[in-house]
Amino acid sequence: MTRRRHATLSALVLLGCSWSRFDEARDEAPVLILEQPPGMGDGFGRSMATSHIDDDTALFVVTEPGGQAAAEYRLGTGDDPSREATDLGHCAEKGAPCFLGSQVAALPRGPESTVGLTHCLLAGLGRHETSDGGHSVGVHTRCDAGAAQAEFTFALPTGELATAAEELIERGAGDPLALAASRAERPLVFAVWPRAHQAWFYPPGQTSAIVVPLPPEMERDLGGSAAVLAIDHRHLLVAAAKDGERLFLWRVDARYAVETIGCLGGDAELGRALTAGRVDFDAADDLVVSDAARVSVFSGAALVTVPATADPDCTLEALPPGALLASFGCGESAAVDGCSSSEFGASLAVGDLDGDGDGEVAVGAPRMRVRGERGAGAVLLYDVEPSAPNALAEVRYSSSASRDDGLGTAVSTPSIRNRQILAASAPGAGRIALFYCGSLGPADGSTPPCR
């Protein structure tokens, strides 16, 4: 009896110090890490895009604007994504110069003129050698074609732009585009070329561009961020002004006729980041905009109804009541602080992270201090519910946060089956953090990491 008691006591002591529980903790970690592939250079994760089709999700991670390196990851359908990049050839093929944009866009399915192409990344200006020995200049695109990849370009809207792009490419000087796509299998792609003072879009499934008309006051003021909202059969194109105080809006009807709505004025650095998604419960995308201190959510349904105006003052007077769904500032938690220098709003994403049918707003704050680590970065989640539209719901960070990781430099919400997760880049650490769980959900704990 005494021997058995001793054995039990010894076993308990050993169990108390068992190391296998750390393996279990690692296996159950809700935050998975995608490491930067070797040789990609600095700025890994400055921008991200995601595409989802047929339960297959791709996450595109690119480096600095103007750079030439991107990585494609397959997240799978569960909680065990491939840690290795499946394709490192985006915007990096020999003989096909390409310069990454400040924003990149992903298409779940290739243009209608192609067959079987999926998960396409529109990376930026580039040149593509055609099969007939010639070449084309446009928006460099690379898609998966089964076991291989296919590259082509979306055409530039004008010959002048093509010539200008050709000259830049010849000189090896990249000039970033800002690309945005709507949420659809074949989305509408909106492109802004600030230095060329041009903006255009590609109707869904099309590679031919339609020029967006720019009022004189807009021509020389286009910035480096853009967004596309899908509202019924219409689209709303949004581009930030370079001066950081205005947003330009265009409306595209079902026949892809575009008209200028006008502009919205705001606080400093308005439009430093733009994104679109379903924040409220209607079917229309909503516009999420950040400025130097706040993030605002505008109802897409409301914006699309604003009558066109030529008012150069860019006031918000024409906005209908209820157009501003929410507006929130930086928030802190016990582990995360330093809002004043957090670069709150450096990146934005909308996704249904808690599975409740509406989207949550993910706001990157890459200079947040996490557990005393300056610049470790965090992502703040806002669940814009009618009861508390402006409340901070959750702060996500990496438990291994360290100084200058810059988590939240870019955020994205890849779809995994019927829900979305949060992906946040940390260029300082050269990694992407995939947040599978959190206090927001999913409430049913449907995946293993979410206990």
Partner: protein
């Protein structure tokens, strides 16, 4: 020269041989015999010849002839043997000796060659020792027996007493009993005292007959080869027979020798004729209390003394060890030091139980209890085990404590990290590359390994503190043995061809037999 020697052979010695003369006889006989037995025949022959010049006893002639025969100097051998027969014509082996002489002569002349010599050499014993010779079986061929002759002197004061010497012809023949039929005993031709006989080794019974009004007396003697034995009967005073026995066989008997200036008088059982009067008798045996008594012997009487020796009330512990040096304590008192190379340390202790402690600087002290028996020596062998190295035990204990302490600290740190990780996991921020996962695992492994190692070290330390890997010192105790006599040599073993009564015939001269009518051994 030889002729001179032979012709000067006397028929009889002087009436009483002095002690110096007797010593000279024995020295010559012993010197020649030693050389003969060493195979140095030429020197032996020369020594016997020289002895004969000094002391013309026929035995020296025979022994010289025997030595020459061994050298194959047959002519000289024949010459000595002939001289022997001339000097001792009544010798019991005269007839076979003559035949052997004849063979030797043939060999010497070379008429028959080596074959004859071989026949004589090989068959000498058989051809000379025939049943028809009567005593020939006891007077064996010298070739076969290689036996030198001895000298027996039978003397009386006054001389002229009739002497009868009988020889035992068969080994199994019992002792001679006066006045009875004694088959197996045969008389040798003798004359009146003094009588000098050259005899082969054997057992003899000597009877000194009535003479000048004194009663007869007798003695049985055992005679070895090349010995000189004197039997002297001083008639005119009655001698007494003292028989000594004890409950311990071979106990030393000392007579009138309180200072132990002489060898022992005999060993029990012992009987010998001694001068009548008061004597101090001491009987000693190792492990027994000495028995000392005074005995008054009447003239012509016999006295038997039977001693019951009591064991001493102490015993001896004989201790040795497997080390170079150990200290020994008994009942808390230091009794000595034993060193390798010395004999066992002997400690005399009262009979009974004693606590013995054996210690050495680098060994574990041996403590045991010994039962010491009276009059017994107890051989004790200490098997000392190396002393515990407490330094190693302390080192292990300290290491164990340090390791266990570090393990506990590591375990606490591991638990702390795990708690943090659990909190982060519940908060949804735990990432799989968190370094605390590896650190915590390392701490946990370290804690487990450390606890195990610390436990092992602790057990080792405890073991070394309590018991030690080499065990305790042990003791091996042999069966108790009788005391030896380390300070005195053991008496020589009695030989079958030596005299039985008296045990020390050479000392008969020290205790002359008094011719007495009561000297037959009866107690007064």
């Amino acid at each position: 020269m030889l002729l001179t020697l032979v012709t000067t052979q006397p028929r009889a010695a002087p009436a009483a041989t002095s002690a110096e003369q007797l010593r000279s006889y024995r020295e010559h006989m012993s010197a020649g015999a030693a050389l003969f037995l060493a195979g140095r025949y030429e020197e032996a022959a020369r020594t016997f010849d020289e002895a004969y010049v000094d002391h013309p006893f026929a035995a020296f002639l025979f022994n010289a002839g025997l030595a020459y025969e061994r050298q194959r100097r047959l002519d000289l051998a024949v010459e000595r043997f002939r001289a022997f027969i001339a000097a001792a014509p009544n010798a019991a082996d005269a007839a076979p000796l003559r035949r052997w002489i004849a063979d030797l002569e043939v060999q010497a002349d070379g008429a028959e060659g080596a074959a004859v010599a071989s026949t004589a050499a090989e068959g000498g014993a058989g051809t000379t020792a025939t049943a028809n010779d009567g005593v020939a079986n006891t007077v064996a061929s010298p070739v076969a027996r290689s036996a030198m002759k001895s000298i027996l002197l039978v003397e009386t004061v006054p001389p002229g007493a009739p002497v009868t010497v009988l020889i035992r012809t068969l080994e199994e023949t019992p002792s001679f009993v006066d006045g009875q039929e004694n088959p197996g005993w045969q008389a040798l031709p003798t004359e009146a005292t003094p009588v000098i006989l050259s005899l082969d080794a054997g057992r003899y019974h000597v009877i000194v007959g009535q003479h000048a009004g004194f009663a007869a007396t007798s003695a049985e003697v055992g005679l070895g080869p090349a010995r000189v034995l004197q039997l002297l009967a001083k008639q005119g005073a009655f001698m007494a027979l003292l028989r000594v026995d004890a409950n311990v066989r071979d106990a030393y008997v000392f007579l009138d020798d309180a200072e132990r200036l002489r060898p022992e008088w005999g060993t029990t059982p012992h009987a010998e004729l001694v001068q009548p009067g008061r004597h101090r008798l001491s009987i000693e045996a190792p492990g027994y209390q000495p028995f000392v008594t005074e005995v008054v012997l009447p003239e012509g009487g016999e006295r038997r003394v039977t001693a019951r020796l009591e064991c001493v009330d102490f015993g001896i512990v004989r201790l040795d060890a497997n080390l170079r040096k150990v200290q020994v304590e008994v009942d808390g008192q230091r009794v000595g030091t034993w060193s390798d190379g010395d004999g066992p340390l002997e400690v005399r202790l009262p009979a009974g139980s004693h606590r013995v402690s054996v210690s050495s600087r680098h060994s574990r002290t041996l403590r045991t209890e010994l039962q010491v028996q009276r009059g017994k020596a107890l051989p004790v062998h200490a098997q000392m085990a190396p002393a515990l190295r407490r330094g190693a035990a302390w080192t292990q204990a300290i290491l164990s404590a340090v390791v266990v302490g570090a393990s506990i600290a590591a375990g606490v740190e591991s638990n702390r990290l795990y708690s943090e990780l659990e909190e982060d996991r519940d908060a949804g921020v735990l990432d799989e590359s968190d370094p605390r996962l590896l650190r915590g695992k390392a701490f946990a492994i370290g804690a487990d390994v450390g606890l195990l190692a610390g436990g092992v070290l602790g057990v080792l330390a405890a073991y070394n503190f309590i018991r030690g890997p080499v065990g305790e010192s042990r003791v091996r105790i042999d069966a108790p043995v009788d005391f030896g006599a380390p300070s005195r040599p053991h008496p020589p073993a009695a030989r079958g061809d030596e005299a039985v009564v008296p045990r020390h015939p050479d000392r008969v001269d020290d205790h002359p037999v008094q011719r007495s009518s009561n000297a037959s051994g009866e107690s007064p």
